[in-house]
Amino acid sequence: MNVSCGEEHCITCSDEATPMRVISVEPSAIARCVDQDGTSSEVMIDLVAGVAAGDVILVHAGVALAIADGTEAPA
């Protein structure tokens, strides 16, 4: 049995979250998303308003916590 949650991170870590791109927004506050590797999954989007296809959202344990806006790129 593979007991690794991901390639190298564990989901439960307080501070592991994955940027994912939104493919489509489904009913019941669910979005279909893909991660950097192209893996698709369903994500709860109850906690972020205005999620739309094409957005990059930060996903932790199946829930979107934020939409990345990129306004603070490093100097």
Partner: protein
């Protein structure tokens, strides 16, 4: 992917390393704690510490919830997994965490129905597909993870699913930080703040650190350029004589946090009077349990759990590692009796644990070369 690639730019990293070198006082030794295991992992994966001057030391903090769970709670989970009608669900890294008498994987080998899930919602889906069984989700994590559990419980209630319950081990980040700051054997100059916890709670809960303890905090992202920039921002505060909470990770973290997440947590959870942390002991109001309104989803109310406190193995020094008092390689059993394949301590089990991060990236060196 946008928002990732630009924060792994080696040239930008070299520029920041130069700025750090120009900012430090040569005769001063700096100890900066990265609070969370995700940062520890990134630091060793990308070799961020190799870009720092020798007098800037990174100290690993307690922000890996798997690492801080006491053995007795693991045993309680195993007892639930052995209940005859239960499908026990948890994240993968919990399966290998040893209790006093084995792991959840061992329980599975003995016949318990233990299943790995990627989210609480996956556990709820199993409950919907198995209406004749009871599905227990072993909830663990800081404020980053707690909203996912809370939303899932709200969905379970809204959909009238009664064969789903939760053994709640969620913890909160501020009480252990205060305990660390009150610890007499630890002197720290600043904190790399937990970026994704801050996505939920915002920056305000960390303001007590500069206000009460006079230490700067920089909430940081997780890519190597994020971490270098955060170290530089802490050093800049120290050089300028400033002491405040700054937000390096503003592309994701709003300073006021995620109000919807905080609201759903307030509805579903309430603070436990106290909770045991591995290596740190009992800390008041440092963990969450289900609120009265959600008590019918509480696995510990549905089933009898042993609730026995178990002392850590004597050879294990996870407690000192979690407090940043010793480095992982200074533990007596690091890399010999304790490895990721056969872990004695939790810090070696979770990929985010400081010991596993050192071990997996071959960081056995006792000394760093001066940059």
């Amino acid at each position: 992917m946008k928002f990732v690639d630009e924060f792994r730019d080696p040239e930008l990293g070299r520029v920041l390393a130069g700025e750090i070198l120009a900012t430090v006082e040569p005769g001063r030794h700096y100890k900066i704690m990265e609070v969370c295991g995700g940062h520890t992992h990134s630091i060793y994966k990308y070799g961020v510490d190799d870009l720092l001057p020798a007098n800037v030391e990174l100290v690993h903090g307690p922000g890996c919830p798997v690492c801080v769970i006491p053995m007795g709670r693991v045993d309680d989970g195993i007892a639930l997994a052995h209940e005859p009608d239960v499908i026990f669900t948890c994240f993968g890294d919990m399966l290998r965490v040893p209790g006093a008498d084995g792991t959840l994987l061992d329980a599975k080998a003995e016949g318990a129905d233990v299943r790995m899930v990627y989210s609480p919602l996956d556990a709820l889906r199993i409950a919907k597909k198995s209406p004749d069984r009871q599905v227990v989700f072993f909830a663990i994590g800081f404020e980053t993870t707690a909203p996912s559990t809370a939303l899932t419980l709200k969905r379970a209630r809204a959909e009238g699913i009664t064969n789903f319950s939760c053994m709640c081990n969620h913890v909160t980040i501020v009480p252990p930080l205060r305990a660390l700051l009150d610890s007499p054997d630890l002197r720290l100059d600043g904190f790399i703040g937990p970026g994704h916890v801050a996505t939920v709670v915002g920056g305000r809960p960390f303001e007590f650190i500069p206000a009460d303890y006079g230490r700067p905090v920089v909430i940081s992202g997780f890519e190597p350029v994020d971490l270098l920039q955060s170290v530089q921002m802490i050093l800049r505060q120290l050089a300028d004589g400033r002491c405040e909470v700054e937000n390096q990770y503003a592309r994701v973290v709003p300073y006021e946090g995620n109000r919807a997440a905080l609201a759903v947590m307030a509805e579903v959870f309430e603070l436990r009077p106290h909770f045991e942390w591995r290596g740190l002991g009992f800390i008041s109001q440092s963990a969450l349990k289900l609120s009265e309104a959600y008590r019918d989803f509480d696995a510990e109310a549905r089933y009898t759990v042993p609730g026995i406190r178990v002392a850590d193995p004597k050879a294990c020094q996870c407690g000192e590692v979690l407090k940043g008092v010793i480095k992982p390689w200074e533990c007596k059993v690091f890399g010999s009796a304790c490895t990721p394949e056969h872990a004695i301590g939790t810090c070696m089990v979770s990929p985010e644990g400081a010991c596993a991060a050192y071990y997996n990236y071959g960081r056995f060196a006792r000394e760093r070369e001066v940059v």
